[in-house]
């Protein structure tokens, strides 16, 4: 299924004026607080009736103000995890989880097994009889996520679903969202976290002040020096890779367009495709190949461009082979010390453990 | 058989007694609905299943008659009542009760107190009382002090509780309440006769209805009505 939306809506003091499309997989909506992410998602869900809009999903017209079409939310089969959990206070956790199933077509209703699986994944098995009033903030958000997933939607809208969760819990839920995505459920994912986005999203739509300021493949948007200010420490490149070998010491060799890269994922089969995230701040540059160093991954490349940043650092874009580029953030002093200029060949040192990987979007 | 009687609420004590002994004697069942004469009359006009109607004033009986609902020739004036001036007092005084005259200083006796009456423009006891005071030339001096209750019983209880020192009620009411006593009677000719007309209605088909209607005018009933202070009119 694919989603395409052109939305114009005025609120007092704020105007949303955005057009974007999202294919299958995860499309991230990224933007500052107040950028209009929730407003946009509400319009897709049908909770907001925009002044002018055309929203299509999987060929079906959800909203078309020009033709007076407005499919009511309950017919859209769009699961929505709200920024505020909005659990039903009169229902127990299990009542909330089961709520959506009764409205889903019989064939789509989640099985008992799937229900347990999701409950376990979210770690809410011991809460099933509680009321939402007796849950912690993060527990509430997890139940909301389960509730939306169990309603068997055709599209999932997630408005900062993990913001209230600790790293460990996030790490448990993210693979599940990946699985949902890989099962073909398209997801529109609002997040402030570039690493979540890098991990999940195939596409990124960056919003600012109600307008789309960048959109495209996640790798392009996240490594675009133009978005670097918005991303700050999270600027980085994405690299597609494939598992070439599982070495006996537990390390995994990936072949990427930039050459071989080693990561620690002994659990994945040879041939699996991955995506590597390489943060600019995690890449050191060296003019000669260093020796006797704990960095596993040293890639050779050529400097493509150098953009100075306001904080005295510079962002160096390296071309590694024909199809790959990565970013490195170094200090201006280092640049001068090494006399780096566009066109120079250099070695990039990647700290292996700082590589985030995903199955390809 | 069942007899359905619609009767003015002020008749309750007497009618309940009459009905009880009649039921015992005949085995017929007498069902009496007590309410204001106006409500009953309107209900009858709207088709209420009443066999017998006893009104507290001729006006509402006239309305029912105009609507053509009375059984031919059955209307009669059943009872009469006398208007009296009562005062709150306990223990009751036992002086003789004089007739009111134009010289009676009612206004002076009232002072700042109220004279309790039924509503003077709409409820029979109040209308009669106002007429009597007017014909005695006393109305203007007391009009501002009149507290009008929604029915004559309520006026009575105002005096009984001492909220109003004086009141104008029927003799029957005065007789039944020992926290008040009659200080004067209104001359019969000072107000229109206070008459309770009774009639059978078109509905009344069976013998039981006719029997009870007759019983109302019989000697036993007369005794009971008289004991309550009514003037029996036939």
């Amino acid at each position: 299924m694919s989603l395409s939306a052109t939305i114009h809506h005025r609120l007092p003091g704020f105007t949303l004026d955005a057009a974007f499309s999202a294919g299958p997989g995860v499309t991230a909506l990224f933007g500052r607080s107040g950028a209009g992410k929730t407003t946009l998602v509400n319009a897709v869900a049908g909770l907001l009736r925009p002044d002018q809009a055309r929203i299509d999903a999987g060929g079906a017209v959800l909203t078309d103000t020009a033709r007076g079409i407005f499919l009511p939310p309950h017919q859209r089969r769009i699961g929505y995890v709200f920024q505020d959990a909005r659990l039903f206070p009169h229902l127990s956790v299990s009542g909330n989880l089961e709520y959506g199933a009764r409205f889903a077509p019989r064939a789509a209703r989640p099985s008992r097994a799937r229900y347990s699986e999701i409950v376990d994944m979210l770690g809410i098995g011991s809460l099933l009889d509680r009321r939402p009033g007796a849950l912690s903030g993060g527990e509430r958000q997890r139940v909301a996520l389960g509730r939306a997933i169990l309603s068997a939607p055709h599209l999932l809208l997630l408005d900062e679903p993990l913001a209230a969760l600790d790293e460990a819990r996030k790490a448990e839920i993210l693979p599940y969202l990946e699985r949902l995505r890989d099962l073909g459920l398209p997801i529109l994912y609002v997040s402030h976290s570039a690493s979540e986005i890098a991990r999940l999203a195939g596409h990124v739509v960056m919003l600012d002040g109600g307008r789309v300021i960048a959109a495209g493949a996640a790798g392009d948007v996240l490594s675009d020096p133009a978005t670097a200010t918005a991303l700050g420490q999270e600027t980085g490149a994405l690299l597609a890779g494939e598992i070439a070998a599982q070495d006996p010491d537990g390390l995994t060799r990936l072949s990427t367009p930039a050459g071989s890269v080693w990561v620690a994922r002994p659990d994945l089969p040879v041939g699996a495709k991955l995506r590597l995230r390489i943060l600019a701040r995690d890449v050191m540059l060296a003019t000669a190949a260093p020796e006797g160093i704990s960095a596993l991954n040293i890639l050779a490349g050529k400097i493509e461009r150098i953009d100075p940043a306001p904080d005295g650092s510079v962002l160096v874009r390296l071309r590694l082979g024909d199809d790959a580029a990565i970013l490195s953030r170094i200090t201006e002093r280092s640049r001068r010390a090494l006399d780096l200029e566009p066109g120079m060949p250099v070695h990039a040192l990647l700290k292996s453990v700082s590589i985030a990987e995903i199955a390809p979007g | 058989d069942e007899v359905s009687v619609f009767a003015a609420a002020s008749l309750k004590t007497a009618l309940d007694q009459i009905a009880a002994s009649y039921e015992q004697a005949t085995g017929d069942e007498i069902v009496i609905s007590y309410a204001g004469s106006n409500a009953l009359a309107r209900q009858i006009i709207q088709g209420a299943p009443a066999d017998i109607f006893i009104s507290a004033n001729p006006g509402w009986m006239d309305e029912v008659e105009k609507a053509g609902l009375l059984a031919e020739g059955t209307r009669r004036d059943l009872l009469g009542n006398t208007l009296v001036l009562i005062a709150h007092d306990d223990p009751p005084r036992t002086e003789a009760t004089p007739q009111l005259t134009p010289q009676f200083d009612l206004a002076g006796m009232l002072g700042t107190g109220k004279l309790a009456m039924a509503m003077v423009d709409s409820v029979p006891a109040g209308q009669y009382g106002k007429a009597a005071l007017e014909s005695l030339g006393l109305w203007d001096s007391v009009a501002a002090s009149v507290a009008q209750a929604d029915n004559v019983r309520a006026a009575l209880s105002l005096v009984a509780l001492g909220e109003a020192p004086f009141g104008i009620v029927y003799a029957t009411d005065a007789k039944a309440e020992d926290r008040v006593h009659v200080i004067a009677t209104f001359p019969d000719d000072s107000y229109p006769p206070a008459i309770y007309p009774a009639a059978m209605l078109n509905n009344a088909a069976d013998q039981a209805d006719r029997d009870f209607f007759d019983a109302l005018t019989g000697a036993d009933a007369a005794k009971i009505f008289a004991a309550q202070g009514f003037r029996v009119l036939n």
Binding site: A45, G46, L47, P72, P73, H74, Q75, R76, R77, I78, G79, Y80, F82, D84, R86, F88, P89, H90, L91, Y99, G100, R102, F103, A104, R130, R131, P132, G133, A134, R147, A148, S151 | S4, F6, A9, S10, K12, T13, D16, V31, I32, S33, Y34, A35, A39, L40, R42, Q43, Q46, G47, A48, P49, N151, R153, L156, D173, K175, A176, E177
Partner: protein, 231 residues
Amino acid sequence: MGWLSSDEWQAVALSLKVSSVAVAASLPLGILVAHALARWRFPGRGLLNALVHLPLILPPVVTGYLLLLGFGRRGVFGAPLAEWFGIVFAFRWTGAALAAAIMAFPLMVRTIRLSIEAVDPRLEQAASTLGAGRASAFATVTLPLILPGIIAGCVIAFAKAMGEFGATITFVSNIPGQTQTLPTAIYSELQVPGGEAQAARLVAVSLIVALGALLASEWLGRAVARKVAGA
């Protein structure tokens, strides 16, 4: 029990029946009207609101009289209802229930409406994203959440129905065993010299019944509220 006459027992039983039926029968309409007033925008909303409040504003006698004109045997609605459907209100306990229902209706609607207005519409939105249509969302989310309000509305309507006098006696008269409710029985007693003691006993009965309902409802309302609040 010996301290009430059989007519009086009948009045107690009748009052209970009349009040319960009045509340139960008008509840669905009450919820509908309350919902319409709280959440819908439609022409004639103001008029509907006014109509609902009428019985409160008018002296009960007037309401009773209008009922008599409308639903009496020869009434505008009463006559066709009786002829075509065999439904008769006039001088039946059903009429007393109709009068009580109409007199209590504004109280019921106001109360329920207020609690509907207090429900966060974002919860209904959440239900809609989970596939619940308007009616389903109402039944599964709004309705349970306003349960305390519905209970409150029913209690206040029941209490009002138990005390209703003016419209009842004007509409269906005061026929023992058929339309004589507790309040009209009390009225009858008050018409009799020395009837205060009798009336007081009936008042006591009336209080016991209504206050029992009140306490039960408080308890019920609290239980429901606790359930919603969680724990």
